[in-house]
Structure formats: structure tokens, C-alpha cells
Symmetry: C2
Subunit: 112 residues, 2 copies
Amino acid sequence: MISKELIGASAKPLVLSVLAQGEDYGYSIIQRVRQLSEDQIEWTEGMLYPVLHRMEKEGLLVSSWQVGDSGRKRKYYRLSKTGAKSIAREQAQWIAVHNTLAKLWGMKPCTT
Amino acid sequence: MISKELIGASAKPLVLSVLAQGEDYGYSIIQRVRQLSEDQIEWTEGMLYPVLHRMEKEGLLVSSWQVGDSGRKRKYYRLSKTGAKSIAREQAQWIAVHNTLAKLWGMKPCTT
DNA sequence: TTGACATACATAGCCGTGTTAGGCATAATA
DNA sequence: TATTATGCCTAACACGGCTATGTATGTCAA
């Protein structure tokens, strides 16, 4: 179980990074993150949807309703240019904190 | 500048890990973290003191007033047994999230 | 002496955000 | 037909960081 603080801190960078691989919709993003984390990160819909709305309002994402193969309406999100650029900043912040923890834990720092 | 979300998520593991190296007091912890992060993590007192109080209330820390060489009264914190044990859990959570991000960023995962 | 500054702790109000809980709707499955 | 999985959304609540402020002491220079 991941703490709500960590959930909150990782939501934005994770959404941005997932969408960097191509557009996706809310419900699917939750599954993708769960799989990527090997069932360790279990997002709730009540957490993700407001995050997506906020990020769209901030201009990081763009949404569009589409009807997929299933015939069901889905709200797909993709990165805006601003969103694509912001990944680097999110990444830098994360690495900065991670490397500080890594020092205290006797781990090797992350480059790149 | 680190986002408030990341600040919040990293506060507890950072405090625990700093105190794992020996007891310390609030004002000093802020400096320690700033140095360790190479000036990238700049905690405010209004953020840290409530964190320390909470962690003590949770039984993770134990405090004691001491008079150091400077003749000034300081409130030193050290890990309780519970606090020492909790580091591993905090670490596991952090690594879980980090490795998920690392996958998306094409980085090598952290092993322990 | 006096003023400025770093040290050192603490709290109050504002605001953002995850959680819990609930609602609504459709397609697939039993 | 009933249930489950899918798929979106929002409201009330509680928690916690930020800003601002208050208090107090030691150091150093004018």
C-alpha cells in the first residue's frame, strides 16, 4: 500500500510519462500504472479523474471523446506541447529527491 | 524548486533516514537536507516542525531538550524502535514508485 | 550600547488534494 | 435477466504544506 502523499507526488509525472507513449483514457491509465508497478500502485478513479481535469485545465493535456472498437465512448487524453516539455522538469525534481534519499540509503545515484 | 507534493511525500522518509545517522534537531535537519540535496530541497520551518510533532505523536520519534555547546536550548529528535523499523517500509514504497517511473523513463530499476 | 542577523522553536489560517462514497450509463457474461 | 466489468463524474471530509507571524537567544560589527 502506497501512502497518499506518495500517490499525490507521483500522479502527475506518471500520467505525463504514460501519455508520452501515446494517448490513453482514464480507466486504462489506471490499469497501465497498476501493471507497470506490478500491482503496487492502485489508483482510484476518484483520485485520477480530478487529476486529469486539473492537468487539462493547466494546459498539460488535451482531451477528446472517441468511440473505440468496443463501441463505448471514452475520453482520450494526449500531451500538449507544454505537457511534453514539463516531463523533463518533473523528472528533474523526482531525481533530485531520489538522489538525496539514495545517498542516505547508500544507493547509487540516478544519472540521465 | 521542488513541488509541494514531492516535499510532502519525501518529508517522512528523509527525516527518518537523517535521524538514522544519529539524533538531530529541527533547524539542523533543514540544513542537512539542503546540503545533501545540493540546495535543491529547501524546507521551511512551518513545514518541518509540524512534521516532527506528528511523527513524535505517531511514536516514530522521541524528543528531548538539550543544551549544546552554543548554550542554546535545542529539541533533539531520535528514532524510536518503531521509527527505525518503519524506514524499510518507507523505502519499499519509494522504490516501488521510483521503479515504475524508471521503466517509463528507460532507466535501470533500483535494487534495494 | 545598539542594531542586524542567524539560530531555534512554535502556531494559525488558507488552500490544495487524496479518500471514501455515491451516482450514472453501457457492454459483456452467466 | 442479473451480474460484472467498463467508463465517466462529483461531493464531503480530513489531512497537510505554505505563508505569515510570534517569541527568544547568541553573535558580531558599528
